[in-house]
Point group: C2
Chain length 352, copies 2
């Protein structure tokens, strides 16, 4: 049965020889083309079985126009959000007989462009791009310029060239505003990264519009930094050092939530007694720590499914104007959100 290490795998010609037919016939049998005599098909199946033949996807793809490879470019792999996104995309690609090749841009547009170039070299059938910046960044530009088929997700709203799928940031932020204003907060700090991004602006404006609609006198301070997290940390630290005392913080990204928490910790402030906190992106740990952290859950599975659905429709030749899907989020209110504290913060105030 299983003899020693088999180092050279059988090719389609080996199968053909074994079955006494031509390679073309083997190919037909493997693809279920009906114009093959049942007797020959049977012999091919037997040869395949005996030799343990499996088609080489590389060779197989070479002849096709569109290769059965999907590229996925994400800013990073370390977070639950993108990790889960890769898992979903992988499964969806596989379901259709495609292979997913994922790459991380490391939050660099340089690298994003380089990876796109490489994906193009591979002549992938399509690309799922979660751009470092937004739909108007270099990634989309490059895809457009080279006529690639692709879908953009996450940090996008809508695009004139590509289909987009993202969380419904506007509604989600509005719900956060409703929650905070409803609990009596009238001074909120909003923090986030990627100030130029359309998605960030949507999250910010969704929050601002709803908050001001509920109470025009609400005070909303905003700290946005372009990309790196350390400048954001510095700005927040500086903000608190100036004596600013919002009663709640709304973070537009996971990184911001972590920075906010660590700055609270520096000052000895506790949630929600001293300050409330809610942020975009849920994570497993948020429901087991003290306090549990309120978060906007993005529907990763749905975003992935919609993105792949659109992508394969385009791959299959569907034309028409690009679509822009928004998937509904869920706000999980947890212990980190409470009513504004009346007294002064428990921790020291001006400490640096």
């Amino acid at each position: 049965m299983s003899s020693g290490a088999v180092h050279k795998r059988p090719s389609i010609h080996d199968v053909a020889n074994h079955a006494g037919v031509s390679a073309a016939t083997v190919s037909k049998v493997m693809h279920g083309v009906p114009t093959v005599k049942p007797e020959n098909a049977q012999r091919v199946f037997e040869a395949v079985e005996r030799l343990g033949y499996r088609a080489d996807p590389l060779a197989s793809d070479l002849r096709r126009a569109k290769r059965r490879i999907i590229g996925a470019i994400l800013p990073e792999f370390e977070s639950e959000f993108f990790g889960s996104m890769v898992t979903h995309l992988e499964r969806l690609a596989e379901l259709r007989g495609y292979t997913l090749v994922a790459a991380s841009s490391g939050e660099s547009e340089e690298r994003e462009a380089e990876i796109l170039r490489r994906m193009q070299d591979w002549r992938v059938a399509g690309v799922v791009l979660a751009p470092v910046r937004d739909e108007h960044g270099r990634g989309g530009e490059s895809m457009r310029a080279h006529g690639m088929t692709g879908v953009m997700i996450d940090r996008v709203l809508s695009d004139k060239s590509f289909d987009t799928v993202s969380a419904d940031s506007l509604s989600a932020s509005a719900e956060v505003a409703r929650e905070l204003i409803g609990r009596g907060h009238r001074h909120v700090l909003v923090v986030g990264l990627g100030e130029q991004g359309a998605c960030v602006r949507a999250r910010l404006e969704g929050f601002r519009k709803m908050a001001e609609a509920l109470d025009p006198k609400v005070r909303i301070d905003v700290i946005l930094c372009e990309s790196d997290v350390e400048p954001l940390r510095a700005s927040i630290r500086d903000y608190f050092s100036r004596g600013e005392r919002p009663t709640a913080v709304f973070s537009l990204f996971l990184k911001g939530t972590l920075v906010a928490l660590s700055e609270f910790r520096r000052r000895g402030w506790h949630c929600p007694d001293d300050i409330s906190l809610v942020g975009f992106d849920d994570a497993e740990w948020m429901s087991v720590t003290w306090p549990t952290i309120a978060a906007v859950v993005q529907p990763v599975g749905q975003i992935a499914a919609q993105a792949m659905d659109m992508l394969f429709r385009r791959i299959d030749g569907e034309s028409g104007p690009p679509t822009a899907r928004l998937e509904r989020c869920q706000l999980l209110v947890r212990e980190s959100v409470g009513a504004p504290s009346s007294g002064p913060h428990s921790g020291g105030g001006t400490g640096q």
Copy 2:
């Protein structure tokens, strides 16, 4: 300059025609083979430049015996550990001109085997496998049977067929024991998943040996479950419900740390006043929550680097007995570890 969408990319023959040489000459120029007249090389470079030619890695690999693809199979992508691992592996593969194709086994040996089969179809040059179980599971078996070249990482100790790279679980666990015993703990609960794995046993025995060496009268309770996290949760809950009151918990995996935290929370116990906690695997949130959570940091970058180093040595034909590397971990003692509490736990006792 940048004319409209270019849908058909130039092949090596287009370059050859443009430069007035043969395709073979273009190939030589692209690979820096010196037996080309400088004048011709120049013309090839110009044609490459003008046409924007880039070699098709698919076609290029077809002719080679070993393809410039590395497969990575990891249990999941959602955690910081494996997410970071993928990032490192990706970079290291790229550095050598290889493409990394990562896939997640979803903690299933079935899927692990299926993915390995697919990697074989792709005729990858090598595989980095973080097995679902351990070095004696189906994954290694399958790699051996098909004569694949590969390295195993993470949940392994050593193997007679493949190189292995993993965290030095024994030493790390011993250090945890030293820390807990040193602080006065004499009743510790150890929790984890994958009871059959060699790596789990190493973590457990490393802890037990050191703890018993420091104080033979120490009491060590152990709760291990095979794979799923929910049975583990149930067992832990049952354990506490029976009235067991260890003064510290040591988790052998991140999942266990999360489960422990959530069970503490159920009972209203706080770290470290009511119970101490330390676990394998660090995460970003652990240093910003209350309390900060003590953790064993695994040297992801080093594991990745060593694994890829070994892998490429094997790909390049290096023979010799398989090596088993252990990379030193770092214990970060944080607020979740304190001295054992003298009085009864603050929270209710028997609540279910």
